[in-house]
Symmetry: C2
Subunit: 299 residues, 2 copies
DNA sequence: TTGAAAGCGTTACCAT
DNA sequence: ATGGTAACGCTTTCAA
């Protein structure tokens, strides 16, 4: 052993993979790596894997998803990994079947997929919490910046957040006007543009619940451009607790993306070392963080 | 072949890796995956690799770098990849030697490392360009938000950008006051805090050149908090052309991170298919984009 | 405790 | 063209 060490010998992973059937690598399927949530969950997964010497193989479906089929066939199914963690992916039935046929542990983070185990927050509950906080402040005309369904991505996340908003409004006896809803991509630029559209159409809104912090920050920027004072003229709440939320003083419902990644990795590692599969789902708590973008309506 | 296809047969990568000596995987060493530049270069690399069926193995050194040694030994050297692309890493001599002993193609993106090939922009030139633009508008008291040297990261990037600023100032016969310099991490929160410190100390600055767009956006936020009007009271220029730059109307020197990633991947793939190594360095052009945060000084 | 040998699933070479 | 076989570098088992 000492001599091997001195010579700088390192075992070949292909050879030991062949011999043992273990690759010591985890596949992580991501829609892309530039969005906060994906990057942060990935960071959490990878931190956990690193500790035990596991490698992360990135199966990036790409911003446009054009190579999705190829990635699936040429990469994921090539027995290069011992387990797979997927982020907010909307698998087709065929894809799910192929994954299952691989016969190794699989878990999804951030948006439930029927038939697969799931780590994430209660999307509906989180949205209801955010909306209820606004209602509790006395707001009655509350708009919603909903996430757009992007192809290939899990559509349940934006859907459930919207549903949570509607349920909270209805439960409080408030109307849910069609004009109070606007859709955008889950990023700052999208949120900004959607807010401009929304406020042009429904200028009397006193509050906006955005489906993500990035969208909410876009809303803040848009409101400022319109000369609105936040929170006096408009309250804004997001979801995530993005690092920028603090910088912008954004009130939000915090979710622990890093922790979700860590847990998903932990689950997979446990099962790979022989533990019985825990069925889940694994619900992460999410807590409201009051900052400076929320206040009672001024009129 | 048809039958194999029908049965859903996919070759084992360990076995074919053993037999051919080719893993069809590329190692990508990143400091983390949450910063824009790294994520975007990674996206570019991965897009190129996907096309030809190559997999991306993420060697994440981690936000705190605590597992660096382990990642190196247990992962990078394990012959799991055919080539390695490293982003802004500051390799120790020992690490470089180990990498070299692996004997496979290697390239660095985004900050030169002695002895390794390099894809990136002319850091010094980019900074000089940004500063010169401010000088051209008539500014004379120009501050600089420099990037802090983070451990394990390439220190040349912040250093050269600072040097470019100093050279531009000196060339224009302007003084470079010590009070006009402030350091921060390469992100929005850091840029904001540093700007608050900077303007507290040197309130008469009429312009700030930030070493990255994220820092520049932090500067914009800080200036707004101080009640300054941009660009009337303060001009701000960044580097990158981050997606948010447009949203904030930030003038900046644009660099093509995605393209740098693509090129690095292309280089490696070419050499793996037998092409002679091109020595480089591979300098990417960077162009000034004038937006709304720059104007002549008002006093 | 140490050593020898079979086998993992491919590829590539060499006969046929 | 086609089929058989050795070899890739490791792990694991079995014998000594």
């Amino acid at each position: 052993m000492a001599t091997a060490e001195q010579l700088g010998y390192v075992a070949s992973s292909s050879a030991s993979g062949l011999a043992t059937g273990r690759t010591l690598a985890m596949g992580v399927v991501v829609p892309n790596v530039t969005r906060w949530f994906y990057a942060t969950v990935l960071e959490g997964i990878d931190a956990e894997l690193r500790r035990v010497g596991y490698d992360t193989i990135l199966f990036n479906l790409g911003l446009r998803g054009e190579d999705r089929e190829r990635v699936f066939h040429r990469s994921i199914l090539r027995k290069r990994t011992d387990a797979v963690i997927a982020l907010c992916i909307d698998f087709t039935p065929a894809e799910r079947e192929q994954l299952a046929s691989l016969g190794h542990p699989t878990v999804v983070v951030g948006g439930p997929v029927p038939g697969l185990r799931h780590v994430g927050v209660d999307e509906l509950g989180v949205a209801r919490e955010a909306t209820t906080q606004l209602i509790g402040l006395g707001h009655r005309r509350i708009g919603h910046l909903a996430g757009a369904s992007e192809r290939g991505l899990n559509k349940r996340v934006p859907q459930r957040r919207r549903r949570g908003y509607e349920l909270a409004m209805t439960a409080a006896g408030l109307p849910v006007e069609r004009d109070w809803l606007e859709r955008s991509t889950f990023d700052i630029a999208g949120g900004r543009a959607a807010t401009l559209r929304l406020l042009a159409r429904a200028p009397r809104l006193t509050a906006i619940f955005a489906a993500s912090d990035e969208m909410a920050i876009g809303a803040i920027l848009a409101a400022r451009e319109l000369g609105l004072d936040i929170p006096r003229d408009l309250s804004i709440v997001g979801i995530d607790d993005h690092p920028l939320a603090e910088t912008f003083g954004l009130s939000t419902v915090a979710q622990d993306a890093l922790g979700q990644g860590r847990l998903a990795a932990q689950l997979m590692l446990d099962e790979l070392s022989g533990a019985a599969p825990r069925p889940g789902p694994f619900r992460f708590p999410a807590t409201y963080v009051e900052r400076a973008t929320t206040a009672p309506p001024s009129c």
